[in-house]
């Protein structure tokens, strides 16, 4: 019999291009200390620690969880490292939740981080074996051709990518922790920004950030009257990065993860039943693409939700009210930030970017070459 798990605290760092003032351990502790204060728990209450981060090549420290064990409070407790590329933050939240759902632990600390300033992610993501052409150009170079394919397939007008960027950056201005806070950004300024990986412009791209996120999860008994975000469903799916017939625009692993998630949560009409969603959008065009992949819209129609303003705060399905990955991208932490922000929304703790009356929220992450998908539904109701 599965135990119910709930988020009782969320914490994050002030994300920035370079957090020169802290070490990796210090960065994690900034998020952890906030999450534990938010949850009103002490170190003695924590049964286990789960740490996630993206490829170790980003910081050049193999298995940083080893050196950070005492700093993140794992001495004398189980410490697990999770590694699923960019989706790792989401997978970290799900692993932590499963340790409670399985009945093994009562309170688990999940923490995820990236300190991108220690190296250069474009360099780290462009290293290929010698029998491939040396054309790699980071995540942008990988995803831009698939964005071009989406535009061709859906017939979406070219300004959709800029619309998402404007919405997310303005949302980020409402989030005190966001790396980029741009209340004055406009469609025109986005469209005038340099073309980096045609068809993707500078302002349609996420920043490179240092940051961390931590959440405290508890079993139903350990919630003890605290405000909680109840985990209603979790799903993870994987597919090969490259295979003949792979649908890069609408990957099967993402579709199937979403179907399983909605089924588990008892949701039959996600667009009507989900109040807000934090989805992993590193390039603005991925908002309409994932709206379709997640089943909020039919294939080819996701951009229409964006165009009519449904995905803005105040719309029928606010997407990334925190500003999302487009405003802060500490890669390893980005997924847990999506999961944590979804929890903050249903706990009513999202501050200036709170979606009025949010009861059910989606947290979503993806990673690799659209290879890993992880997602959860959290609710204010048990």
């Amino acid at each position: 019999m599965k135990q119910q798990a709930a988020v009782i605290g969320v914490g994050q760092t002030h994300h920035a291009t370079k957090r020169a003032d802290v070490s990796m351990a210090g960065l994690c502790r900034e998020a952890i200390d906030r999450a534990m204060r938010d949850a009103d728990v002490g170190w003695a209450d924590i049964d286990a620690v789960v740490l996630g981060k993206a490829p170790d090549l980003f910081e050049g420290v193999m298995m940083p969880e080893l050196y950070m064990a005492e700093s993140i409070g794992a001495a004398g407790k189980p410490l697990l490292r999770v590694h699923t590329a960019g989706s790792v933050g989401g997978a970290t939240g799900i692993v932590a939740a499963s340790l409670i759902q399985s009945g093994v632990h009562s309170r688990v600390l999940a923490v995820a981080f990236e300190k991108q300033s220690e190296s250069n992610a474009m360099w780290a993501l462009s290293i290929r074996p010698p029998f491939e052409m040396p054309l790699g150009a980071g995540a942008g170079g990988y995803f831009a051709p698939h964005i071009r394919a989406y535009i061709r397939r859906s017939g979406a007008p070219v300004h959709i990518g800029a619309m998402v960027a404007v919405k997310d950056r303005r949302n980020g201005a409402l989030n005190e922790y966001a790396h980029l806070r741009q209340p004055d950004i406009t469609l025109e300024s986005v469209q005038a920004s340099p073309m980096l990986w045609d068809p993707v412009r500078y302002d349609e791209t996420c920043p490179s950030s240092d940051g961390a996120c931590a959440i405290v999860l508890a079993s139903a008994d350990a919630v003890q009257g605290r405000t909680a975000a109840w985990v209603k469903a979790t799903a993870m799916r994987t597919e090969p990065t490259m295979f003949s017939g792979k649908d890069h625009v609408n990957p099967r692993a993402g579709r199937e993860a979403a179907e399983a998630l909605w089924r588990q949560a008892g949701i039959t009409d996600p667009l009507a039943q989900i109040d807000t969603a934090e989805i992993y959008v590193p390039f603005s065009w991925y908002e309409p693409m994932w709206l379709e992949n997640l089943g909020f819209a039919e294939p080819g129609h996701g951009w229409r939700l964006t165009e009519v303003g449904d995905t803005a705060i105040g719309g029928s399905l606010p997407i990334n009210p925190s500003g999302g990955v487009m405003c802060s991208n500490p890669i390893g932490a980005s997924g847990l930030l999506r999961f944590g922000e979804a929890a903050m929304q249903v706990m009513g703790r999202a501050g200036e970017h709170q979606v009025e009356g949010a009861r059910n929220a989606l947290g979503h992450a993806y990673g690799g070459g659209s290879q890993y998908f992880s997602m959860w539904v959290v609710s204010s109701e048990r």
Binding site: E59, E70, A137, G138, S244
Partner: protein, 310 residues
């Protein structure tokens, strides 16, 4: 293949103080619960509070344990045989790992050693070049600390360079050898009949070995592409360039290549392209024998012919 980067390590307050101390020829430890840890811990291992108190310890200490490095590797502290040792400095409770320059026959647990400071110090554990037996003549002991810049070390550079030997699989080997002869080899899955290029040895969909080699032409269709305008460290092709997914005729998966021979703005989905090979005398076992693809001058392929590869 060589992979390397000079990582810029942010230190945070505790390790900054430690590194700043090293520049000045001083070794700092953290005090917690009656113990002094060297190097200092950022967080107290018992209370988990941030380290509040740093104390200076001696640069003289006692060997707790050691092992012998008979054949030093490039990048290690010494190029002649030396000992890796755990050294408990006077005033510290935990040992520090460092190198000792001493003859093998003199090495023993309990021996007394002293830091031999590097002439030029930058805020790195290597500011201690190594440790020497205390009976050894020590010039660095009388080093003038004020001669070194004493600014805060909030960051240290950690160069990491790795050298890999890539072992090619039998399928990759045949593919690369064929390229050296100006041919392109793929493999067909016996179950789904899809042709993979480069060949992989196993079908990712059916999970069965792919055994049938298929020779492919050097003409194909651009399924999708992007124009890379961004420069970044380690980039091996100068931007701007067109990074295209090229579906060779007869293949069932596109592969990445460079498109030249027309303005980047003329490249489009469905464009028919042909390989431009380097001069034969430059051919090696490399996909770079194909210098780039260029427009083949044929009418564009119908969208339906490549739609399932997007």
């Amino acid at each position: 293949m060589e992979v390397g980067f000079d990582y810029t390590r942010s230190l945070g307050p505790t390790l900054s103080a430690f590194m700043t101390g090293l520049v000045g020829g001083r070794i700092l430890g953290s005090r917690s619960g009656g113990q002094v840890h060297v190097p200092p811990l950022e967080y107290d291992p018992v209370t988990l509070q941030p380290t509040a108190e740093l104390v200076e310890v001696s640069d003289v200490g006692t060997v707790v344990s050691w092992s012998w490095m008979a054949q030093p590797l490039p990048g290690q502290p010494l190029s002649t045989p030396f000992a890796w040792a755990l050294i408990r400095l006077d005033g510290a409770d935990t040992p520090l790992l460092h190198a000792i320059d001493a003859p093998l026959e003199s090495m023993h647990t309990g021996m007394r050693v002293q830091a031999h400071w590097a002439d030029s110090r930058v805020g790195s554990i290597r500011d201690i070049a190594c440790f020497l037996r205390v009976d050894h003549e020590l010039t660095a002991m009388f080093d003038d600390v004020s001669a070194h810049q004493l600014h805060d070390q909030s960051m240290t550079v950690t160069p990491i360079h790795l050298s890999y030997t890539h072992t090619a699989s039998p399928e990759e080997s045949r593919y690369l050898r064929a390229l050296a002869e100006g041919r392109i080899i793929g493999q067909r899955c016996p179950m789904c009949r899809k042709v993979y290029v480069p060949p992989r040895g196993a079908c990712p969909t059916d999970g069965v070995p792919t055994t049938d080699d298929v020779e492919l032409p050097d003409v194909g269709t651009i399924t999708t592409f992007c124009i890379v305008n961004v420069p970044f460290p380690g980039q091996r092709t100068k931007p701007p360039y067109v990074h295209a997914a090229v579906l060779l005729d007869g293949a069932d998966i596109p592969f990445s290549h460079l498109v030249l021979g027309c303005p980047a703005s003329d490249v489009r989905m469905g464009m028919r392209v042909r390989a431009v090979w380097k001069p034969r005398e430059q051919w090696t076992t490399s996909p770079q024998n194909i210098d780039h693809f260029e427009p083949a001058g044929e009418p564009d392929a119908d969208y339906e012919t490549y739609a399932e590869h997007l």
